[in-house]
């Protein structure tokens, strides 16, 4: 499944291994409406290897980050969702949120 993930640059960069094929990666030019604040925002677009690998990477990266709330915007064929990740976000919570836009 092709997905696009937008978020803080380091966070997005760390998700590279979860993609089987990457179409595009780089800074996101227009983030005025995305509620990311003033951090450097990046986007990665490509074919995902699998949802479980993505969940694992998001969780691992989240636990390393110091921010109270981390945001990721995920777009798939079924729509766009803004994930608000708490520091202790569980795989189940993530899966539940993403299930609205990723068919497993």
């Amino acid at each position: 499944m092709r997905v696009s993930i937008t978020g803080e640059k380091d966070f997005v960069d760390s998700l590279r291994p979860t993609f089987e094929l990457i179409d595009r990666q780089g800074p996101e030019p227009d983030v005025t409406e995305l509620h990311f604040g003033l951090v450097e925002v990046s986007v990665i677009v490509g074919i995902l290897s699998g949802i479980s690998k993505l969940l694992e990477f998001i969780q691992a990266q989240r636990s390393k980050s110091n921010s109270e709330i981390q945001r990721l915007q995920v777009t798939t064929a079924l729509g766009t969702m803004l994930l608000e990740l708490k520091k202790d976000v569980s795989a189940e919570e993530l899966q539940e949120q993403l299930s609205k836009i990723i068919v497993t």
């Binding site: 604040g37 490509g46 777009t75 766009t80």
Partner: protein, 514 residues
């Protein structure tokens, strides 16, 4: 409050909504704003170090209101607003027609589907069919939509036509072409950069930030103003970078007037120069000079001109009318007064056009009615503001006059408050013509995280209608942005927009990713 994670940006201005929006990410920041709004006292923190967040929150309104006024005086703002309105009106008609078309899905954004060739469409359909099961057990089928090239839209002319006798497929095609044309025009206009690499929208930040510095200086004191300036001088953000370039140009001119003063001391003195330069860049005539009227292109011209001409005493005059006329002549652009007069004609033409459209309209009358109400108010406020500017440019470019004398005369925009991740009891909110955009019930109390007030309610002849229309137009514009264009819409409205679009079209919305 953790200073490490704070941000300066608490507001937003988007021509989808004819007003300004303020966003607060925590109850603490919202509390600072409410205290500021409800206090009658001028809070000057001279000699004390006010928190950066407090400085930003107490001045965000000045920044955002400046955006609103600049959007009214600039041909760029007027044309961007009109394209948005046209895209919304035509887009809603196309989406209404989509219900009667054959097919099970609507590709989104439609703009990309229209420009996609058969091979690309086949690949995309294969991807959707493998990733998203079709409920009927078959395959996803989009409505028949002719492939168009970018060149097709270059020659496309907007027109008002009676489509009532045409088959639905043909009506859909015509409305879709019109909406895509408006979005493409908007995209070209908003993405045209100058030699410096900045986008037109960044130039609106220059005047808003400069107004904000002056507002901080006046209402909070010197130390907070210097703290804000420190942020602008150090920040790697594009708009701060551009602001510094304007400051350099302002200093070049200002140093000729005060040769004995060092550059550091000149920064505050150069603010009026930055403002003169910034406002002039916004006044290009798109109708007559097309993309050369872009603020980015005008800045290139002015930079080239002033680097050669800065010693000329004509650049040091305090009569803004003469200064701008000198720059018009030196850079070879349409005179600023002619540009503004042509902007007024453009506004009147827009009103006539939407009145005709309303007469010819065949579907849900609320769409053209709301669009007309919003355009009427916009044009009325534009007429008043441009009139002031033509009569006295100091009203906009001289910060002291703008902040102290002009504000009572200039229109005050709708003010929307958005609370990100928390909500408050509606019993704690008050304000003129208050409307709740959201409502939640919890344990017998009603809460909201989005509300709008109209501080200019007394200035507007149809304040209630305007508030309704502005909110409805924004919502329809968001639906069209979600279905037709690649423009981002606020995440909290995405679920509702998708549900609304699937309800209107009777089809599943499938996204083209990437």
């Amino acid at each position: 409050m953790n200073e490490e994670v704070t941000q300066w940006d608490f507001g937003g201005f988007n021509p989808r909504f004819l007003g300004v929006s303020l966003r607060f990410g925590s109850p603490a920041t919202y509390k600072v704003f409410r205290q500021y709004l409800e206090s009658d006292e001028v809070s000057t923190a001279l000699g004390q170090e006010a928190s950066r967040v407090e400085i930003a929150i107490r001045s965000v309104l000045d920044h955002e209101i400046r955006h609103y006024h600049d959007s009214l005086i600039s041909p760029y703002g007027a044309i961007a607003f009109r394209h948005r309105l046209e895209a919304m009106v035509d887009g809603m008609q196309a989406l209404n027609c989509a219900r009667d078309l054959k097919g099970t899905c609507v590709p989104s954004p439609l703009l990309r589907w229209v420009l996609m060739n058969e091979e690309g469409r086949a690949l995309q359909l294969r991807e959707w069919n493998s990733a998203v099961p079709c409920p009927q057990g078959g395959v996803w089928v989009p409505p028949g939509i002719p492939h168009r090239t970018q060149e097709y839209f270059y020659d496309w002319e907007p027109r008002v036509a009676d489509t009532s006798g045409l088959p639905t497929e043909r009506q859909f095609e015509l409305f879709l072409d019109a909406a895509v044309h408006a979005y493409l025009d908007l995209s070209v206009m908003t993405s045209t950069k100058g030699a410096t690499g900045f986008l037109p929208c960044h130039f609106f930040e220059v005047t808003a930030l400069t107004s904000q510095v002056q507002a901080i200086l006046q209402s909070q004191g010197l130390m907070p103003a210097l703290e804000f300036l420190r942020f602008l001088l150090d920040s790697p953000l594009p708009y701060a970078d551009l602001w510094r370039r304007f400051l350099q140009l302002g200093l070049l001119v200002e140093k000729q007037k005060r040769a004995d003063v060092d550059e550091g001391s000149l920064v505050l003195a150069a603010l009026p120069d930055v403002m003169n330069l910034g406002v002039w860049c916004l006044l290009g005539s798109y109708e007559r000079e097309r993309l050369e009227a872009s603020p980015a292109k005008r800045f290139d011209r002015l930079l080239r001109f002033l680097v050669e001409d800065y010693k000329n005493p004509m650049n040091h005059t305090t009569v803004i009318e003469d200064l701008w006329a000198h720059w018009d002549q030196g850079t070879g652009v349409i005179a600023w007064k002619d540009s503004l007069k042509s902007l007024l004609v453009y506004g009147e033409r827009g009103l006539r056009r939407i009145a005709t459209l309303k007469r010819e309209w065949g579907g849900d009358m609320s769409v053209p009615r709301h669009a007309e109400t919003v355009l009427e108010t916009y044009t009325e406020e534009q007429r008043s503001v441009v009139g002031y500017l033509l009569e006295s440019p100091e009203l906009f470019a001289d910060l002291n006059i703008y902040l102290n004398q002009a504000q009572g005369r200039l229109p005050i925009p709708l003010l929307r408050v958005e609370l990100d991740g928390f909500c408050i009891p509606i019993s704690t909110i008050s304000g003129p013509n208050l409307r709740y955009v959201t409502r939640f019930e919890h344990e017998g109390e009603t809460y909201t995280n989005r509300y709008v007030i109209d501080p200019g309610v007394l200035q507007r002849s149809k304040a209630d209608d305007f508030m309704d229309a502005a909110l409805r137009v924004e919502s329809m514009a968001q639906w069209c942005d979600a279905a037709l264009a690649n423009l981002s819409i606020p995440w909290e409205t995405q679920v509702a927009a998708r549900a609304g679009l699937e309800d209107i079209t009777g089809k599943r919305l499938l996204m083209i990713v990437g």
